[in-house]
């Protein structure tokens, strides 16, 4: 029997469980500190990028404006087919899962309300942001990472060209505008396809009633918050992509790791923002 037990002195903590606890605490602490540090760096990068976008709005417009148009085509126009496909699928899925239930309880008059709550407020913006991240976000990190790793940033600076102005600002504007536009596009397609699927399922709801339900369910706050939410998603994507691609020294072999890190950070950022907007919806 251990001596401590016979003498009544406090029992020594099990060294194994103590080190295990310490390891968990230090891991959690390290992760939290890393997350805070990354958040701080991306925040600083966001301030620098926004400052550059504002202070240099009239500088080299003949170069920057075509770059913004190019990014709008790349992040927005080229994604229209993918977004249309997902919008159709989203409308079908929501209606197929809910119409039967609503019909059973005689609440088909809530179809429009449900579509607004699910598509307009939640899934539409998030899905559009995730499509952009998957389709062009990762490619952009690789592109910017290569620019960084091959020393082209230094070459730009040597020419007196601000890399933030030339590389980040067009992508920031392009992504914000594209995510807003693609979200609206996806929402409209999901709402229309939802009705079409309901029509095929013999939903006892005329098109005018459906539109009326949606119009009644929508409030002015929905439009304002949709604009803010989608713009925030676009900004989060742009800043995490550009930060991981450009804002830190990078070697060619580190680009793949940087890309996966970007996806994780952008995903967490969008989900946290989504949670924030849910709270706003609940408060208003």
């Amino acid at each position: 029997m251990p001596q401590a037990a016979t003498t009544g002195a406090p029992v020594e903590p099990n060294p194994h469980s103590n080190s295990w606890r310490r390891w968990i605490l230090s891991s959690v602490g390290r992760t939290v500190l890393d997350v805070l540090d990354t958040g701080k760096k991306i925040g600083a990068f966001a301030l620098i990028s926004l400052g550059t976008a504002v202070t240099r709005r009239d500088v080299a417009r003949n170069v920057i404006h075509p770059l913004i148009r190019k990014q709008l085509v790349r992040f927005g126009v080229r994604l229209l087919p993918a977004v249309a496909f997902l919008g159709l699928a989203l409308g079908f899925m929501i209606v197929s899962q809910t119409v039967a239930l609503l019909s059973r309880v005689g609440a088909t008059n809530l179809t429009g309300v449900l579509m607004v709550a699910v598509v307009v407020r939640e899934l539409g913006p998030l899905t559009a942001a995730l499509i952009v991240l998957a389709r062009v976000g990762t490619a952009t990190v690789i592109e910017l990472g290569t620019v960084r790793a091959t020393g082209e940033i230094e070459a730009l600076e040597a020419l007196g060209i601000d890399p933030i102005h030339y590389l980040v600002v067009p992508r920031l504007i392009g992504l914000v505008v594209s995510v807003i536009a693609l979200s609206v596009y996806l929402i409209v397609i999901a709402l229309v396809s939802g009705y079409l699927f309901g029509f095929l399922q013999n939903l006892p709801l005329s098109p005018s009633e459906y539109v009326h339900q949606i119009a009644n369910a929508l409030r002015w706050e929905d439009f304002v918050l949709l604009a803010f939410k989608t713009a925030s998603f676009g900004a989060v994507l742009a800043l995490t992509i550009c930060f991981n691609g450009l804002a830190q020294p990078l070697r060619l072999e580190e680009i793949s790791h940087s890309t996966t890190r970007t996806v994780a950070q952008a995903l967490v950022g969008c989900v946290l923002l989504d949670a924030f907007f849910i709270v706003i919806y609940l408060l208003i």
């Binding site: 020393g151 082209e152 070459a155 020419l159 007196g160």
Partner: protein, 256 residues
């Protein structure tokens, strides 16, 4: 700018590696580059040529001391003022000059003029015509810059650096990685540029850092040596050729 005001001046500069700041490259040294001068800086590989050239371009902040470009301390200025100064300096990196791979050759060389002087693409190309001809890159203009060989990439980077008609030209080990044909062209191009200029493109002064003095002895006007943590002016061509110093002889008689 009057002839007695240095284009570039290093005063008691203590230079460290740009990324590994704990590595000292050159301890306190002074150096003045006046208009009309063409300096060749000989140095062994890894001795700090690139850091020296980058600090001359106002990009690598020294640990201590002052670097003045066109009479103004370049690191004391705001970012926008520093950018203004950098436009008066042309910097060509080694190993293919770091061309922008996402642009084609024409977009690469016209970018500085389109960005800083708001010229249209066609206006910028017209202005650069003498350089394009001298660099023999007419047929490459529509090609993506990532698809050209290192030798051609260096020519493109050279035209790009000269586009803003810089007063001071900095060349970091220009023959590094070039084949014989491009190396010959490189030497002839730099010689032509610094002797009579190419059209309106004629830098007032230039610094060329290299690890092999042989091709440049007949071209440069002033010579310096940067070895073992020390920077030292050697003098003119004759002094270099006649030097018996082992580190100079090594750079003059390299055997590859």
């Amino acid at each position: 700018m009057s002839d007695d005001v240095p284009l570039l001046e290093f005063e008691k500069v203590h230079l460290v590696h740009s990324q590994r700041r704990e590595v000292t490259l050159f301890t306190e040294f002074n150096w003045r580059i006046l208009p009309g001068e063409f300096w060749i800086v000989g140095s062994a590989q890894g001795a700090g040529k690139s850091a020296l050239i980058e600090s001359a371009a106002g990009r690598n902040r020294p640990e201590s001391g002052t670097i003045r470009l066109f009479g103004e301390p370049v690191f004391a200025e705001s970012q926008q003022q520093a950018e203004q100064v950098r436009r008066r300096v042309g910097l060509v990196y080694d190993q293919g000059g770091r061309v922008f791979h996402h642009l084609n050759v024409a977009e690469n060389i016209t970018l500085p003029l389109r960005y800083h002087r708001h010229l249209s693409f066609e206006e910028a190309l017209a202005e650069l015509e003498p350089l394009i001809k001298a660099a023999e890159i007419e047929r490459l203009l529509p090609i993506g810059a990532g698809r050209v060989s290192r030798g051609w990439a260096w020519r493109i980077a050279c035209v790009r650096a000269l586009a803003m008609q810089p007063e001071l030209l900095l060349l970091d080990n220009p023959m590094s990685g070039l084949d014989r044909e491009h190396s010959r062209w490189c030497r002839a191009f730099v010689d032509q540029l610094m002797s009579g200029g190419i059209g309106v493109f004629k830098p007032s002064a230039a610094i060329l850092a290299c690890d092999d003095l042989r091709p440049w002895v007949g071209v440069g006007r002033q010579f310096a040596l940067a070895v073992s943590g020390h920077f030292r002016e050697l003098g003119d061509r004759r002094k270099v050729v006649e030097s018996t110093e082992p580190s100079v002889r090594e750079l003059l008689e390299r055997d590859y």
